[in-house]
């Protein structure tokens, strides 16, 4: 089995899906000859031809809108949005159309579209190349929202998304796209990782840390530091934000009695609020300390000072200290 980075796993998943299913097509800005600005579709056009991997005009609403039409007529489109920050022109198509087609047609029509998009900071991208806007999408009933954090899960979840019947917004953690430390062996052919299931990234007993995407390695790093201080963190990689694996969240917090939620999006109304509310509603009796959220500040994403904006292991450790000293 080859060792792949996350971006290589995306590329491999697309190629695998296209080899196995003639209905799969991939398109967006610069995905053709250039192979995508991050290389997600590198060599895909060369292997599968321009009919199945093509550049579009510069219109995100056009990309998602036409993907919906293709899906209605039996294709399995992968629509690439070059940066998550540029998804908003397609917001209407996603929220009003993609998410509601099944419901509004009484189940007569469905749109199994996969919208892939790199998200998150840490690449010196400033306000418009760093956003982490998952909460806009998880707030919309009718969408599946996935954020992988490992190469194995990236491929398996993307292949699951392409086999399912639902629209999937697939956020890819671009900051760790090429992280060699995360490269791992990934099976060559078809396999799937189930949507809607969290992954226990590290077992622990004192605090449950809930995270996803680029924050998973950050939390694992914090877990190492905590262990050196005799504190055992359980790290749950949520993987699918919606539908959320509520059972896994609650089981973990019932075991540890403490919860920290970590994401890089602004804290206010961020995804962490939902996890916190779930725990408060369903498992408050098992809590031994307040739930703490570690998140981005409630500001747009800065550029020169992005290191101070992004949660890091030290900030997670501050939360650990707070929770343990309660």
């Amino acid at each position: 089995m080859p060792k792949l980075t996350i971006i290589a796993a995306v590329n491999n998943a697309i190629a695998t899906a296209m080899r196995n299913d003639p209905r799969v097509v991939v398109f967006g800005e610069d995905v053709g000859k250039k192979g995508g600005v991050f290389g997600a579709t590198d060599k895909i056009q060369a292997e599968f031809g321009e009919a199945r991997c093509f550049d579009t005009p510069l219109s995100e609403d056009g990309i998602v809108g036409t993907a919906i039409g293709m899906a209605l007529n039996g294709l399995r489109p992968i629509a690439e949005i070059q940066f998550q920050d540029f998804i908003y022109p397609a917001f209407d198509q996603i929220v009003s159309e993609l998410a509601k087609m099944r419901y509004r047609s009484g189940g007569q029509y469905a749109c199994p579209v996969v919208v892939r998009t790199p998200y998150g900071g840490g690449i010196r991208g400033g306000l418009y190349h760093s956003q982490s806007a998952e909460a806009y999408f998880t707030h919309t009933p009718g969408l599946v929202t996935v954020i992988p954090s490992t190469p194995y899960d990236t491929k398996g979840l993307l292949l699951s998304a392409l086999q399912g019947e639902d629209p999937v917004i697939f956020f890819e953690p671009k900051r760790i796209y090429r992280d060699p430390a995360l490269a791992e062996e990934v099976p060559e052919g078809m396999y799937t990782v189930p949507i809607g299931k969290a992954r226990l990234a590290r077992e622990g007993s004192h605090i449950s840390v809930f995270c996803y995407g680029a924050m998973v390695p950050v939390c694992l790093q914090a877990a190492e530091q905590a262990e050196a201080k005799g504190i055992s963190l359980e790290v749950l990689d949520l993987r699918t934000l919606c539908p959320l694996d509520e059972a896994a969240v609650l089981a973990s917090v019932r075991k540890t009695g403490r919860a920290i939620v970590v994401h890089e999006a602004p804290k206010f109304c961020g995804y962490g609020a939902e996890i916190s509310a779930l725990i408060a509603e369903e498992a408050v009796d098992s809590l031994e300390a307040p739930i703490v959220r570690v998140a981005g500040f409630d500001t747009p994403f800065p550029n020169a000072l992005e290191n101070y904006y992004m949660p890091d292991a030290r900030r997670v450790m501050d939360a650990v200290d707070r929770v343990m000293s309660f």
Partner: protein, 372 residues
Amino acid sequence: MTTSAEIAQNPLLAPFLPPPASDEECLRFYRDMVRTRTYDRQMIVLQRQGKIGFTIPCEGEEACHIGAASTFRPEIDWLFPSYRQQGMALHLGVPVEDLVHQMFNNEKDAGSRGRQMPVHFSFVKPARWVSISSPLGTQIPHAVGCARAMQMKGEKGAALVCFGDGSTSTSGFHSGLTFAGVWKAPVVFLCDNNGWAISVPTHKQTASASFAVKGRAYGVPGVVVDGNDVLAVRDAVGAALERARQGGGPTLIEAVTYRIGGHSSSDDPRRYRPEGEVLQWQQRDPLARFETLLGERGLLNSSMKKDLEDRARDEVLAAVDAAAPLPPPPLDSIFEDVLAQQTPRLVRQRAELRSELERHGRSTSADGAFPL
């Protein structure tokens, strides 16, 4: 491609043509084209040296910028640029140093306070250069709304909005032209058609015979101009701006030019376009062409050229020396300018960050490199 002579024949623009450029003006245009190229190349060097994170080169497109800026009237007009018009800033009198401060995202980056990526300038003086946004096409309706406000307030100016060929596919282009046509707003749409939107060539961007012709359906006249001829761009944009100021309504101008470099410092254009195409366009280099013209008119010789180049280089290097050592904006700036009044919540978050740093010292450094 439409030249100055042809624009002079264009019944729409002819009545509004600026007077022919004087020798002195021509030399100033040339000087600023040289300054632009020098600045631009130096930014690439800095990026390659790892001193700045990113840049967007404009080599090959200088004539569009200088030609257009030369007829802009900062006292009354408004500018809504995109990210490839550095030359316009220089010609409008923005000090090179102010550009370089933004490129370094340092404490003197007044127009983004270290928040925006390099090249995303914002100025109020010497011209109303409205803050550049990365999301493409968004500025097009802004210019139209600003123009509408000028109409309503009885102001005499016009709005000039710049965007690329790719950006004509955005909904911002469509709504901007739709509204401008209906309102007869005093706005000039300047589309720099440089052949490419990153790796997507114009024939994959539109099936239309030109970008200029798109205006017709919106009731906005369209004009194609040779974007590598500084005087032709000046005539076309100058006449369109004056037509707008005098109540004649909007114009769409397509300046045909070419992006000699990559899309940005992170792009390798050899992956998707033939080298021959670049060489072909280098034959039409806007600086070389203007040099020939000025030489023929006896306005420029090789020692004057060298002198201008040396001075431009000194100017840029001095600006880099001034900007490079400066620290980033203060930490508190993260929490400022979100709303007019800082919320108590942000005051609290600011305090949290301060105390975190008191306990831990500096934050870990970023690891990523910008890929696009």
